[in-house]
């Protein structure tokens, strides 16, 4: 794995001084401030494209029966395929464009994007909607979930802030502020702030985003946002000692066990959902029905599956097979061996993402990539947890597979950002 920086430099754009750049001095052409140069990480791109292809094919296989039989899809078997494929093409273009974005530009975009995301999160709650949950914003025939924007915005902001506010911690002045003898209250506050300002900022932003998403009645979105946020804070904000995480994890596990054992501890409506999840064989309605059918679908696949396109559960048994439960159809048609293989592809994607991150010198790029692949990894694992009924049925989409145009475009855009970072990562590019 040893390699020289000169190899990279040879491929890279003309050398530039970042400090000058951030200072706004126009020593370099504007293109170099916006665009990144150099080769990106082909293995990562290949993994993305492979997953995308499998995803679109399997989404089509899962959806065409449903599509052919419902008015919502105009009785067109190819309804979902056409749209997903179109968005995939658009997504690939956006990914390639995003891979050209210069990290400096992204740094500048971090705060405005976060503000925009918050604005959208508030907007979606304010805009009147016919649906009982307010998750979508419609612009003409175009629709998207602000929570999707919020996640990437949060990742971007955390990466930006964790780079920016990591430094002062090590400056003598800051250290001095943290070491000030606190005699007066003002001094105590000042000292506290000096010590914990970063932590407070991240936790505050994350809590605000989580609350807003939770207000959408979007539990899964909240959980994933909190998950990504917590993991990024764990990585990037190191003032919180490790024992605190262990204690918090232990406490969380204890709470979960307690709640599962005694659902009465929760408010009635939440307790009901827990009880319903635990006793789904007795109450086979609604979400439980979908979960039961999902289990039957996965179980039907066995070791080697029914064969591509040969799912029987998609014939009206598994509700909306093109959406969050698409992986169940994958399991049924392709069998354990291949669906496990797909799982390994995701692991490889995450792994490769981390490798890119760890080979990136800049903290911002490193954290940005980790945040993005963490999001993909978390969603994937939790989605499989839901379809295998390990977790309660909360709508978590499967990246690259679940039908949804804007989500796919956003996802591929994020992949483009990973590729953009990979351009400056110091690792072998195959």
């Amino acid at each position: 794995m040893t390699h020289s920086t000169t190899t990279r430099r040879a491929n890279a754009a003309p050398a530039r001084d970042r400090r000058k750049d951030s200072a706004g001095e126009t020593a370099v052409p504007w293109t170099q401030r916006i665009f990144a140069y150099g080769g990106f990480d082909y293995p990562f791109l290949v993994l993305v494209l492979v997953l995308l292809c499998i995803g679109v094919v399997m989404m089509f296989s899962a959806s065409y029966v449903n599509a052919a039989n419902h008015k919502a899809s105009n009785y067109d078997a190819f309804f979902y395929l056409k749209r997903q494929a179109a968005y995939a093409v658009l997504g690939i273009i956006i990914m390639l464009l995003a891979s050209k974005i210069n990290l400096a530009f992204l740094r500048k975009a971090a705060v405005p994007v976060l503000l925009l995301a918050f604005a959208l999160l508030v907007a979606v709650l304010v805009i009147p909607s016919k649906e009982d949950f307010k998750r979508w914003i419609y612009i003409g025939s175009f629709q998207f979930q602000p929570s999707e924007i919020a996640k990437i915005a949060l990742i971007l902001f955390f990466a930006y802030a964790m780079e920016k506010f990591q430094k002062p911690q090590f400056t003598p002045a800051a250290r001095g502020a943290g070491m000030l003898p606190a005699k007066t209250f003002a001094q105590r506050v000042q000292r506290f702030w000096a010590r914990w300002n970063g932590t407070i900022l991240y936790v505050g932003v994350l809590a605000l985003a989580a609350v807003l998403i939770y207000k959408e009645n979007h539990v899964s979105g909240t959980v994933i946002t909190l998950g990504i946020g917590a993991m990024m804070i764990f990585i990037g904000e190191q003032r919180i000692p490790l024992w605190f995480y262990f204690a918090a994890t232990a406490a969380a596990v204890a709470v979960i066990i307690a709640v599962l054992k005694k659902p009465d501890l929760l408010p009635p409506h939440a307790a009901e959902r827990i009880v319903s999840f635990l006793h789904r064989e007795q109450d086979q309605s609604g979400d439980n029905w979908q979960t039961i059918q999902s289990l039957r679908t996965i179980g039907s696949g066995g070791l080697l599956g029914q064969g591509l396109g040969q799912s029987r559960q998609k014939y009206g048994y598994l509700p909306e097979p093109q959406s969050d439960f698409v992986f169940a159809i994958v399991c049924e048609e392709l069998g354990f061996v291949r669906s496990f293989g797909i799982l390994l592809l995701y692991v490889a994607l995450v792994w490769r993402g981390f490798m890119i991150a760890l080979h990136t010198k800049e903290r911002f790029g490193s954290l940005l990539v980790m945040g993005i692949v963490l999001q993909v990894g978390l969603q994937t694992a939790l989605n499989i947890g839901v379809v295998t009924a390990t977790l309660p049925n909360t709508g978590i989409p499967l990246p690259f597979f679940t039908y949804g145009g804007t989500a796919l475009v956003i996802l591929l855009g994020e992949m483009g950002i990973v590729l953009a970072v990979s351009r400056v990562a110091r690792q072998i590019k195959l």
Partner: protein, 777 residues
């Protein structure tokens, strides 16, 4: 740290290189923390939640979930196996299945349909129109909304089924569960399933032997019941996947197990022989005004049943209809509804019953052949054993009368049988003794079933239908000796008598000769089963000879068939167990010197003439003659018979009239010429037909006179000479059939009914019989 060191960490390595970077390395634990997160993500999330869940659901519990899924996904359709065909011994089809359709509705789906009123109305109207059934009936069935399947009509023929299928394809504009507008076909509410029809092409032919099948193609009586498993075959299955909306899935796996068609049966029964039997039996029942009549024809050497019939019978194509017109009218006349239903039910079960093996009666004098066989075999008597009948005999302090109150006088062994003298056979029975008698009683199979391959054979019940050895005293022995005080089924009796005809070999009677598979290959063939040798061949021959004399000169003379050498024994038994009525029977075989065929005719509760020799023997003669001719058995005629029989008509067509006339006159025929032509255009009887000696031959010489007819007069209840005269006067030829050795002959049956228009010169066969010396009661 060692593991991490192996992973590339350029930052760290670089940090080691530069001075002053140690602090940063210590402070920024980005690398370590990233790795922790990565491990947590991969191990906990991907490993435990993802892979763990997948393994648990797909591999560990996969089979269970798969089974649950298949429970809902798979439709298991049974393909009925075609029931085996039944053939007679000449491969004529007597019972055959063909496919049909069963129309059903889905009341549940209809009720769930948003526009159910409209759907119901259309379904009811269409189906009642196509299937010609009542609308109310369909409506009633549609009201069982809890059911998904209600058969509307069974055994529907293809044309109607196709009309229903066409209707099923029509569409209806309606809404689905989500309220969206959709088109729905009527096939969701109406369906066509395969069904089968069992045809019995010869209507009532051997109905009591064949039995019939119910709506579900299961044999309910007769052979259909006994051989149900053989005939049924193995149904096939189609296991197909269906959608949640019950439609078949395209390109989905279909597991088809082809049905194995049922095995076909080839009967021993011969269509022609069965027809002779049925025809004669029906007439006999009418003539005797009897309650019922049973007949069996058996091949003595094998035990194969060539014919078996009961009257009244039924039509297995419509087995619930009462076939007997008189009975039907009687039932319809019953005013009370419950009683009528009961009477109808009783009549139905009665007509389904195969009396030839389910009914038992006291065999009466027919049994004397068994007593005779036992006595000769045991040597307690010989042909010269004589006894003088005085009209009654004292046994155990009781007087038993002979049917001839005046007594038969002194008779030897053969004469005793010819006269059917009760005291004679009582003394023989006493000579045999209880032990010996019972030994032969058992040996001839009167304490067991014959084992025929038909259901419901009457099972002898010790102490009820027959005396056990322990309960048998000398009085019982006496009554048993001449065939009273115990009961046997017709099949038992003919099987026992056939043993005498068959050199003492008691056979197992059977009806199915062969079983054929789908492609006609023989799967199994019934081998004649010798149950045991009951008497020696010599004894059997002697008794058979005696029985021939019974027919030629004894009570059985009306069973005589010219040239046929018939041996037999009459029976007229009181139905002691019922307390009234008689059973007139005759069991005989032919030819006596080398027996082939045995026939038993039993007439249950005749009115008027009640003696077996009067009413059963002529039936046997009639059937036997037909059977012997049909089977090409060589006839040996006496001289007188030869003369009566006449010759075969010579061919005179195209001969000059005068030549023909002279030739025929010289041959001893009387001739009548009709027309003015010069040569014979055609003649009646035609050449090759038999005409009695001195018979009339009509020669037509003119086209215009081609069809001169005469009316057949009544030829019954006349002496033979009177009948001949009447026939000749009418311009008919007469063929007399009966036992000429006997006296007091009179005609009782003519082959062409009185009043029928027939061509001049037609031969009418007239049967005659004697009422003299044939009574055995």
């Amino acid at each position: 740290m060692a593991i991490w060191a192996n992973l590339s960490n350029p930052n760290k390595r670089k940090a080691k290189r530069g001075p002053g970077k140690r602090k940063q390395r210590r402070s920024d634990r980005l690398y370590e923390r990233s790795i922790i997160v990565l491990i947590v993500l991969v191990v906990l999330f991907f490993g435990v939640i993802g892979a763990g869940g997948l393994i648990k659901v797909q591999l560990v519990n996969g089979a269970k979930y798969r089974a649950d899924a298949e429970d809902t996904q798979l439709r298991d359709t049974v393909i009925a196996a075609r029931r085996g065909t039944i053939y007679d011994c000449n491969m004529n089809v007597v019972a055959e299945s063909s496919s049909a359709a069963r129309i059903y509705i889905n009341p549940h789906k209809i009720a769930e349909e948003p526009k159910h009123a409209e759907v119901l109305e259309t379904v009811v109207r269409q189906l009642s129109q196509i299937l010609e059934i009542s609308e109310d009936g369909i409506r009633t069935k549609a009201s069982y909304v809890g059911y998904g399947y209600m058969a509307v009509k069974y055994k529907v023929e293809k044309k109607q089924a196709d009309a229903v299928r066409k209707f099923m394809e029509t569409e209806l504009l309606t809404t689905n569960a989500e309220g969206e507008e959709i088109r729905r076909k009527y096939s969701e509410f109406v369906g066509v399933d395969p069904d089968v029809i069992r045809y019995y092409p010869m209507k009532g032919f051997a109905a009591n032997v064949l039995g019939f099948t119910g709506t579900d193609d299961i044999g309910l009586a007769g052979l259909e019941l006994y051989y149900n498993n053989t005939l049924t075959g193995t149904p096939g299955r189609i296991i197909a996947a269906k959608s949640a909306g019950e439609t078949d899935l395209p390109n989905q796996f279909k597991d088809i197990n082809d049905p194995v068609q049922g095995t076909s049966l080839v009967l021993t029964i011969d269509q022609a022989i069965q027809r002779y039997l049925e025809r004669s039996l029906e007439q006999a029942k009418i003539d005797a005004q009897a309650k019922a009549a049973y007949g069996i024809i058996m091949e003595v050497k094998t035990g194969a049943i060539k014919g078996m019939a009961c009257v009244s019978s039924f039509d297995p194509n419509d087995y619930q209809a009462i076939a007997d017109e008189a009975v039907r009218q009687k039932i319809q006349a019953i005013p009370d509804e419950d009683e009528r239903a009961k009477a109808y039910n009783d009549a139905m079960f009665t007509q389904w019953r195969n009396g030839a093996l389910e009914v038992t009666y006291e065999p009466g004098s027919v049994f004397k052949t068994i007593t005779a066989s036992a006595a000769l075999e045991e040597g307690v008597a010989d042909l010269n054993t004589s006894y003088t009948c005085t009209g009654a005999i004292q046994i155990g302090g009781r007087t038993i009368h002979c049917h001839n109150r005046n007594g038969h006088g002194t008779q030897n062994f053969t004469k005793g049988l010819m006269n059917s003298c009760n005291p004679y056979w009582i003394t023989i029975g006493q000579k045999l003794g209880l032990e010996k008698f019972y030994q032969y009683y058992t040996a001839f199979g009167f304490t067991e079933t014959t084992g025929i391959d038909l259901p419901n054979e009457a099972k002898p019940k010790p102490g009820i239908t027959f005396h056990t050895k322990e309960s048998m005293g000398i009085v019982e022995l006496a009554s048993c000796s001449f065939g009273q005080s115990f009961e046997a089924s017709p099949i038992q009796i003919i099987t026992a008598v056939s043993a005498i005809a068959n050199g003492g070999k008691l056979m197992r009677p059977y009806v199915v000769a062969k079983e054929l598979d789908e492609s006609g290959r023989v799967v199994s063939e019934t081998k004649p089963l010798l149950r045991r040798q009951v008497i020696s061949e010599a004894t059997a021959k002697t008794v058979a000879g005696m029985m021939e004399q019974v027919v030629s000169g004894g009570t059985g003379k009306n069973a005589y068939v010219a040239g046929g050498r018939i041996a037999g024994k009459t029976g007229t038994s009181e139905k002691l167990s019922v307390g009234r009525g008689y059973v007139a029977s005759f069991c005989g075989f032919a030819p006596a010197d080398n027996p082939e065929i045995a026939i038993l005719i039993a007439i249950d509760e005749p009115v008027g003439l009640i003696n077996g020799g009067q009413i059963a023997a002529p039936v046997v003669a009639e059937v036997m003659e037909d059977v012997l001719v049909y089977r090409n058995v060589e006839m040996r005629y006496t001289e007188k018979e030869q003369e009566e029989l006449g010759g075969v008509t010579p061919n005179m067509v195209a001969q000059p009239v005068e030549t023909a006339r002279t030739a025929l006159k010289n041959a001893g025929y009387s001739v009548r010429v009709i027309g003015d032509g010069a040569s014979v255009l055609h003649q009646i009887p035609e050449s090759g037909q038999s005409v009695p000696k001195g018979g009339l031959i009509i020669l037509y010489t003119d086209e215009s006179e081609a069809s001169r007819t005469v009316t057949v007069p009544n030829l019954l209840e006349y002496s033979l000479s009177d009948a001949s005269y009447l026939a000749a006067r009418a311009g008919l030829n007469i063929k007399l059939v009966g036992n000429f050795e006997s006296n007091h002959l009179f005609t009782y049956h003519q082959s062409i009914e009185e009043g029928t228009e027939v061509p001049l010169g037609t031969t009418v066969t007239v049967h005659f019989l004697s009422n003299n010396g044939i009574l055995d009661r």
